[in-house]
């Protein structure tokens, strides 16, 4: 298996990347202007109260010491206490991560369910100049729609007019899964629009590439039906570039969740990060960013492995326009 040859190196570099990211995250967290004690206790608080609080969270120790301590605890899954809620960061994250994960997963499902068929359709109809041009312009518009613009407009329209979906109520999927899914539908769709467009475009290009290959011509010559050819020859071969794109899209969805969660008031990891930043809640900031990067690194690792299994010829590279 070729995969075994590059996998150890790939794993090693993933670890290096995560270590580097953790250092960066810690440094950034501690360079934030403003002091936690001031922020939480308020300007009207006394100096002793502030000193006391700083000591109680170990902020009086040296920075390298704090970093090592933080990293060691983080590896054991202990991210300390949230400064704002005084609860373990792990618990705080545990209640919010599923929401963001569900949101991103819904975005992903929408992306694949809409993007891939659109791409296949477009790829099979390149000969039609007008339709081809329409595909290009529509997909480019899709990529060019920022979620804070679309989101703001959608929130307004869906609250001002009755379209059957409310935007003011978030239902936790943990309490009522069905209602939770419904309340996440609009944010997931807003987030997915650029991804759908990018996926449709990548699929289309992949389909075109596959269609010109000789074995397709052979299949046509054998008299196989177009539907059969698409299902059995085209889709499988077109899968790889699409798969590569999914890692980028996953990162986009995880990151994009920040803005969409804020616009739609979804209490996920993204809005929690913005909140924690505004509070200088260091343990939370560090944990959330580290988790996000870790998920992303793992996702791209997974995609690489999958790609390697599906098509052993493919060298491990990530490419494509960043979103």
């Amino acid at each position: 298996m070729r995969i075994l040859r590059w996998l150890p190196g790939r794993l090693f570099s993933a670890v290096i990347v995560l270590l580097g990211a953790s250092l960066l995250i810690f440094a950034a967290g501690r360079s934030l202007p403003g002091d936690y004690a001031n922020t939480v206790l308020g300007p009207l608080s006394s100096e002793e109260a502030r000193v006391e609080l700083r000591e109680s969270f170990g902020f009086d120790r040296s920075l390298p010491e704090q970093y090592v301590l933080w990293l060691r605890n983080a590896l054991e899954g202990d991210f300390g206490l949230s400064l704002a809620s005084q609860r373990p960061v792990r618990e705080e994250i545990a209640s919010r991560l599923p929401i963001t994960a569900l949101l991103a997963a819904m975005g992903m499902v929408l992306t694949i369910a809409i993007g891939v068929p659109l791409g296949v359709y477009a790829g099979c109809h390149v000969a039609d100049g007008r339709r081809s041009a329409a595909t290009r312009i529509v997909s480019t518009i899709g990529i060019s729609l920022p979620e804070f613009v679309v989101g703001s407009v959608v929130v307004f329209l869906f609250s001002h007019f009755d379209f059957g979906l409310t935007v003011g109520t978030f239902v936790s999927p943990a309490e009522d899964f069905g209602a939770g899914i419904v309340s996440l539908l609009l944010p997931a769709l807003v987030m997915a629009i650029p991804c759908i467009a990018a996926t449709a475009r990548a699929t289309r290009n992949a389909v075109i590439d596959v269609l010109v290959e000789p074995h397709i011509a052979a299949a046509i010559a054998r008299g196989e039906t177009p539907g059969f050819i698409i299902r059995h020859h085209v889709l499988r071969n077109a899968l790889i570039p699409v798969l590569t794109l999914t890692a980028i899209i996953m990162a986009y969805l995880l990151g994009g969740a920040i803005i969409v969660e804020r616009v739609f008031n979804v209490p996920g990891l993204g809005s929690y990060l913005v909140l924690a930043l505004g509070r200088r809640d260091y343990p939370v900031i560090q944990a959330v960013v580290l988790l996000t990067t870790a998920i992303f690194v793992l996702m791209s690792l997974l995609v690489d492995i999958l790609t390697g299994i599906i098509d052993p010829r493919v060298a491990v590279t990530k490419a494509g326009p960043g979103a």
């Binding site: 934030l32 202007p33 403003g34 002091d35 936690y36 004690a37 001031n38 922020t39 939480v40 206790l41 308020g42 300007p43 009207l44 608080s45 006394s46 100096e47 002793e48 109260a49 502030r50 609080l53 949230s82 400064l83 704002a84 809620s85 005084q86 609860r87 705080e92 209640s95 703001s152 929130v155 307004f156 329209l157 869906f158 609250s159 001002h160 007019f161 009755d162 409310t166 935007v167 003011g168 109520t169 804020r262 616009v263 739609f264 008031n265 209490p267 809005s271 929690y272 909140l275 930043l277 505004g278 509070r279 200088r280």
Partner: protein, 539 residues
């Protein structure tokens, strides 16, 4: 088939626009429902049901839910559901019975409170005089800024089975005003001292509601306190509170009925809910006011010179600030909140009477022509940044160039508080809660007591003395005279200059709730009359 996309788009857009923009925007709720009230609940409606309230931010303090150290209005609102105070303010800022059913001012330094006998904490234990005495003492011992507002309390004594007497070391007119705010709530002292109740984690008060769930910065659930003596008169069974930071999202929640009752900082919310017939929007005037920090502590800044500060103070057109940034709802005020009885007349302040020529002369005398000043404010609400931009335009006329920096809350605090060095920024914009007595907020101008202003305020012994004098003078003409002098001194010193009141906007769904909302609020308590609320759409 050829689809004319641009044409179709234009038609859709035109349709949407014609639907969105109402032909005439009615100015909602200009008149009061009753004297002192913007809305009065229909108490004939059946009790029960769940009220959904959307607020802009949550309680936040390292000490958690301990009311003594709560410094923000939202904390006072939320904790005020579970805790009660000895006295309360009514809609005219008169003091009315709370946990004290009556009180007697024996002398300017002696107050006797007769306590309610039926008050019960939510754990079922009846409230005693010990709890009252202990609560006041615990507040004094705490490092809370509210301990300062309590004034010079010499002793709290139990003088009867249901009576406490507070003795002061000097007269202090604002005592009732200080006792009326949530930080002075009566705590379950016995349990707190025994350690069986952690005040920072649990709210066990005598109030009408008990918090049954809380997710920090997301939501609260309060349910009716069955032990409350007036439980039968409490209208709403459950209050679900959602914390929603984004103003546009709270607007959306009122529009689509997700929220029954919501608060807005943006005064334009009055008009922004036009076209939603079920939504009623009311303005709530506050004693809170916006003020400008003019940093005098930096020796290299032009603001080090008192003349320049006075000129800046005089060059600011408060009416325009209010019109543009607060939809005209902000009222020009001196250091005594203009919405409170006995407040000074802001039109007679020294800065208000200076002409443009006099302002220019002040600047010229100080050698401060064509100066550059930095202004820092924060971004959690929209008004401060707007005020900053208008002030920038206003000062431009006098050759003062302002550079604006809008930062987040922690960065703003880092700029002006919590270190020994003079602040680097020249100007800051923020607001103070105005409380329920005209002299209370002026404590923050006394540099001996309000040490948190040390990085930007020099102050003066005369001003400090005036602040103390204002707090001692008993109600009446002589106090009004002292307050007028105090206003003038604050205005001339111009280190923290009051601008205008900070109004709030409350919106509610008429098909869901019938609330009682006071026109003037002193402690930012948005749910002051919660026990009167009734739900209209109970199914």
């Amino acid at each position: 088939m050829r689809i004319q996309l641009p044409t179709a788009g234009a038609v859709v857009l035109a349709f949407l626009l014609s639907n969105i923009v109402p032909a005439t925007i009615p100015r909602a709720a200009a008149e009061e429902a009753a004297p002192g009230f913007q809305a009065v609940a229909d108490m004939n409606l059946p009790a029960g049901g769940t009220l959904r309230v959307y607020l802009d931010y949550d309680t936040v303090a390292a000490a958690g839910l301990d009311p003594r150290v709560a410094t923000t209005a939202r904390s006072w609102t939320l904790m005020g559901l579970s805790y009660e105070t000895l006295v309360k303010v009514d809609e005219k800022f008169g003091f009315v019975p709370g946990l004290a059913k009556s009180w007697k001012i024996v002398s300017p330094t002696e107050y006797v409170f007769d306590l309610r006998e039926d008050a019960v904490f939510s754990n079922g234990r009846p409230m005693t005089a010990e709890d009252v005495k202990g609560s006041i003492e615990m507040l004094q011992e705490s490092k809370s800024s509210w301990a300062l507002q309590l004034g010079p309390i010499a002793s709290v004594d139990i003088t009867g089975p249901h009576q406490v007497t507070i003795r002061l070391s000097a007269p202090y007119t604002a005592l009732l005003g200080a006792l009326a705010n949530t930080p002075a709530a009566i705590l379950p002292v016995k349990e707190a001292r025994a350690g069986t109740i952690d005040l920072s984690k649990q709210m066990v008060g005598t109030g009408p509601y008990v918090a049954t769930a809380h997710v920090q910065d997301e939501s609260w659930t309060f349910t009716k306190n069955p032990h409350h003596p007036d439980a039968a008169k409490i209208g709403v069974d459950t209050i679900d509170i959602e914390i929603v930071a984004d103003e546009a999202n709270r607007l959306a929640a009122i529009r689509d009925g997700s929220a029954h009752y919501a608060f807005f900082n943006n005064a334009d919310a009055l008009d922004l809910l036009a076209g939603s017939p079920q939504a009623r929007v009311v303005k709530q005037q506050n004693t809170d006011f916006y003020y400008l920090i003019l940093n005098s502590k930096n020796p290299t800044s032009p603001l080090h010179d008192e003349r320049v500060r006075l000129a800046v103070n005089a060059a600011i057109d408060r009416a325009q600030l209010s019109d543009l940034a607060l939809a005209g709802l902000g009222l020009t005020t001196g250091v005594t909140p203009v919405t409170l009885p006995g407040a000074c007349d802001p039109a007679k302040l020294p800065s208000a009477t200076l002409s443009d020529a006099e302002i220019s002369k002040l600047l010229a005398d100080a050698g401060a022509t064509n100066i550059k000043l930095s202004l820092t404010t924060w971004n959690e609400e929209s008004a401060p940044a707007q005020i900053a931009q208008i002030i920038q335009q206003q000062l431009q006329r006098f050759g003062i160039t302002i550079e604006i920096k809008v930062v987040d809350d922690p960065a703003y605090v880092a700029e002006f508080y919590g270190s020994d060095q003079p602040a680097t920024a020249d100007i800051g914009i923020s607001w103070y809660a105005g409380y329920g007595d005209a002299a209370m907020v002026s404590r923050w101008w006394n540099t001996e007591q309000a040490t948190f202003t040390a990085r930007y305020m020099t102050g003066s012994p005369e001003l400090n003395a005036l602040v103390v004098k204002a707090s001692q003078e008993p109600q009446g003409a002589s106090r009004d005279q002292v307050l007028t002098e105090l206003c003038a001194a604050v205005d001339k010193g111009a280190e923290q200059i009051p601008l205008m009141t900070r109004p709030g906007v409350i919106a509610y769904r008429t098909d869901k709730v019938s609330p009682t909302i006071n026109t003037n609020e002193g402690y930012g308590n948005l749910l002051r009359y919660i026990t009167d609320f009734r739900l209209t759409g109970t199914k």
